[in-house]
């Protein structure tokens, strides 16, 4: 089968729907690492689904509405934002709820720009990939060294979270928050640590290191001043400016 370090163009002809992947024994070590990382991130994140299901029902949504959000919207930050506004303002706060969820969801569109060359062409593949383009799938994919392991990381994380998140949403909506506050298990710290660990090994050059640190500082400092979602988008401006002028970059 495909050796792991073929040139990108060659690999594109060996497409990557998971059914076409070779058996585990034939995968390279970075492919297995991508698979493992994706799976562990999916397990940890899916646990949050139970909180979402329970909180959503508490906010006044029924079980169907709660499940439709996890199936269709499938973006944790946006979903929590939407039910948060509904919980405090009811249906009358609809426009504010939609705006809050769109604000949190807009960064997925920026991830999609980065993911598109990794995913490759094909209408239905891109449609499926679009659905699964979230913080976690993008983070795991871009943390991998080869295009092949990037694809494996993306699909394993995306599909894994989609399945786990939706099952746990239904469980939470039906029988309530069995786990209680997930923070008591340190899951919030684990999420921050996971994103840190996925980013870190890829930060080898000066330019991305400066962008990463500046973006983290900008988003944190702006948190008290801006509505949720905007601080992270504001931090993206750091990337646009540094990238446009190629400050601290390698001269081509």
């Amino acid at each position: 089968m495909v050796p792991p370090r073929l040139p990108v163009l060659l690999q594109l002809s060996f497409t990557v729907s998971s059914s076409e992947l070779p058996a585990t024994a034939e995968r390279g070590p970075e492919d297995r690492a991508a698979f493992r990382t994706g799976l562990s991130v999916a397990l940890a994140v899916s646990a949050y689904g139970i909180s979402f299901g329970a909180l959503s029902v508490a906010a006044g949504l029924d079980v169907w509405q709660t499940c439709v959000l996890s199936l269709l919207m499938f973006s944790g930050g946006s979903q929590f934002a939407l039910i948060g506004v509904i919980a405090s303002g009811g249906v009358a706060a609809g426009p504010a709820a939609i705006a809050a969820s769109a604000l949190l969801g807009s960064r997925n569109g920026l991830y999609a720009i980065r993911m598109a060359p990794i995913i490759g062409p094909g209408f239905f593949r891109r449609l499926a990939a679009g659905w699964l383009t979230i913080d976690e799938s993008t983070a795991v994919a871009t943390a991998q060294p080869t295009i092949r392991s990037q694809r494996i990381g993306f699909w394993v994380t995306g599909v894994g979270i989609f399945v786990g998140w939706n099952i746990m949403t239904l469980v939470g909506a039906l029988i309530g928050d069995l786990l209680g506050d997930v923070r008591q298990y340190g899951l919030d710290a684990a999420a921050a640590a996971a994103f840190l660990g996925l980013r870190w090994p890829r930060l080898k050059e000066l330019q991305p290191v400066i962008v990463a640190i500046a973006a983290a500082v900008v988003a944190t400092v702006l948190t008290p001043a801006l509505p949720p979602g905007l601080p992270i988008l504001a931090a993206a401006l750091v990337a646009v400016v540094v990238g446009a002028f190629n400050w601290w970059g390698k001269r081509a």
């Binding site: 439709v68 997925n108 710290a189 008290p224 601080p231």
Partner: protein, 103 residues
């Protein structure tokens, strides 16, 4: 506006935002500056996410159990401990701090 209207409209906007990124022409992304910006955007967004997930609580910046947990994780990543070990350690540190020092 009914609750169903809100849910469906917000979901459609959410999906459209995700799909919009895939409509950017690939020929554009092969040029050096757009490729560099797109790459740095992901770096910036995910780094910003680490900052917010470590320090933000609703709309406030707080220092709580997450900070030592993420610092332990950073130390373990620096000595190249396996990913899953680091994640579990971070969760454990935060959980234990909250157990012994409830707010």
């Amino acid at each position: 506006m009914t609750l169903w209207n809100i849910i469906l409209l917000a979901s459609i906007i959410g999906v459209a935002l995700k799909l919009a990124g895939y409509l950017v022409p690939q020929s554009l992304l092969e040029k050096p500056t757009p490729a560099r910006i797109s790459n740095l955007l992901t770096v910036a967004l995910l780094a910003a996410l680490v900052g917010v997930q470590t320090f933000a609580s609703d709309s406030q910046v707080v220092i709580d159990a997450r900070v030592p947990a993420v610092m332990v994780a950073a130390g373990l990543f620096a000595i190249r401990a396996p990913f899953i070990v680091v994640i579990i350690s971070a969760a454990l540190v935060a959980a234990l701090i909250r157990l012994f020092f409830p707010v």
